[in-house]
Amino acid sequence: MSTGGLRRKARAWGRRQLYSFFSSLGTLLSHRLGTLLTVLVLGVAMVLPLGLYVTVKNLRALDLQQQDWGTISVYMQPEVGAEQVRSLADRIERERGASSTAVSPEQGMEQFRQASGFGEALSLFEESPLPWVLEVTPARPPGDDLESEVSRLSEWLGQQEGVDLVQADFKWLQRLAGLLALGDAVVTVLGVLFSLAVVVVVANTIRLDVASRAEEIQVLQFVGAGNGFIRQPFLYSGFWYGLLGALLALLVLGACLFYLSLPLARLLDAYGNTFTISGLDGREVLLTLLSGAALGLLGAWLAVQRYVRHFRLD
């Protein structure tokens, strides 16, 4: 075939696409209520996994702010003095390879005063009632098995002279990490399930759409439309359903975050935290829209594939 012929064919193809594109938009607009309901269902289906994803993402960010990953607080007995604390710190460094920071009773008092707001009341104490504290950060073991390293170190610390109490914040952090991993898994499971729901909802909508336009399809076949031309508007419809559903999900998510951000900020303020809740970034928004559109397209394709193939002229 000559290049001119090819170019002409490509142009005709483009015009057909354009026609299908506008014809699908026209159909969606002419059935406003039906379209709206479908998009609503899709939006709700998509907002659930998205919402959970954002929640997990924020928890993770919160967790990253936590600097004392795996630190051990060693509370000394009240009579223990600076000298003995220093020598313990040295031994920790030498024998266990872990670094430590000593917090004197006065420093501890000062930190407590700032954090708690009991400033006036605390000044009644002539002398700090707090013991010396050592904040020990264990060395990362080669196998990265932080948990067992922390428990070994805690045990060793507990046996040292002058140590009153060893407290590892580690356990709950470990649990949080576990919960976050679970959250990730739940996001994945929900994502898959709700994606499936989106595909099924779109497929069913398109199937009904095809059935209600059986007459039109027949006429199109009579006047020489190929399967591609007949299929095209339905595929575009699926694309629009998915895209609009994703857009709605994003809007609902945004509204939810906005609604939650104020009380959450207040709550976190009370804990002296300056954490700000984060939504989806541009890449994630784009990905959401694209996935929505792709799922809609897939649903439409499945419906049309099944239907147009079995469509028989009477």
Binding site: R11, A12, W13, G14, R15, R16, Y19, S30, E215, E216, Q218, V219, L220, Q221, F222, V223, G224, A225, G226, N227, F229, L313
Partner: protein, 229 residues
């Protein structure tokens, strides 16, 4: 242009709709296809449109042997045929203009050309003033003419009509047949299935008569004119 060679069509279930039918319709020729209902007229038209495949024999349309074409070629065969139906088969949610433009949309014609050609086709059937109307607001005769405009807008070399006058009164039927003859005069090959014998006879064209799936008679135009009313 349309060539049947010993064509038989047997539907699954054993009903023989056509048996050993042979005829040739030359380019630019016009013929009527008649016979009582169930004689095989619709089957014959469906074979030409590649809506069915012949069980035996060869159907050659516009130089293409339909038995040897894969099904995906059917749309391109149909694009070479303008088809007119008894029940018009217009889309009620599209305007007259949009209905007529369908074949051109499918062919991917440029919009300015679509406008020009749709209006030319509507002008030819005398409905240019109705281009923005909805099909259901038109009379039966007007709807049928819209159907004809849609059939000729793509300028196919072949025009098929299946009982086009089924719902029309004699006056309108005659007008319609005259329109077919006029189109035939412009070089289009026309095959019209109809059971309106008196009207057919008065047209003075070749007549193919089907009876029980067989071609019972093939009367030349000259004979009709000679022995006619």
């Amino acid at each position: 242009m349309i060539n049947f060679e010993h064509v038989s069509k047997r539907y699954t279930g054993g009903v023989a709709a056509l048996q050993d039918v042979s005829f040739e319709l030359a380019a630019g020729e016009m013929a009527f296809l008649t016979g009582h209902s169930g004689a095989g007229k619709s089957t014959l038209l469906r074979l030409i449109l590649m809506l069915e495949r012949a069980t035996r024999g060869q159907v050659i349309v516009n130089g293409r042997n339909l038995g040897k074409l894969p099904s995906r070629q059917a749309p391109s065969v149909r694009r070479g045929i303008g088809m007119i139906f008894q029940d018009h088969k217009l889309l009620s949610d599209k305007t007259v203009f949009d209905n007529v433009s369908l074949p051109l949309m499918i062919a991917g014609v440029r919009y300015p050309d679509i406008r020009r050609r749709v209006r030319a086709a509507l002008d030819k059937v005398g409905l240019l003033s109705k281009e923005k109307s909805w099909p259901l607001t038109l009379s039966g005769g007007e709807q049928q003419r819209v159907g004809i405009a849609r059939a000729i807008v793509g300028m196919p070399p072949i025009l098929l009509a299946d009982e086009p006058t089924g719902n029309l009164d004699p006056e309108l039927s005659r007008e319609l047949f005259n329109l077919f003859r006029q189109l035939n005069g412009q070089g289009v090959t026309v095959l019209v299935a109809s059971h309106d014998l008196s009207l057919i006879r008065s047209m003075g064209q070749r007549v193919l008569v089907l009876a029980n799936g067989r071609l019972a008679d093939d009367i030349a135009a000259a004979e009709i004119r000679g022995g006619g009313s």
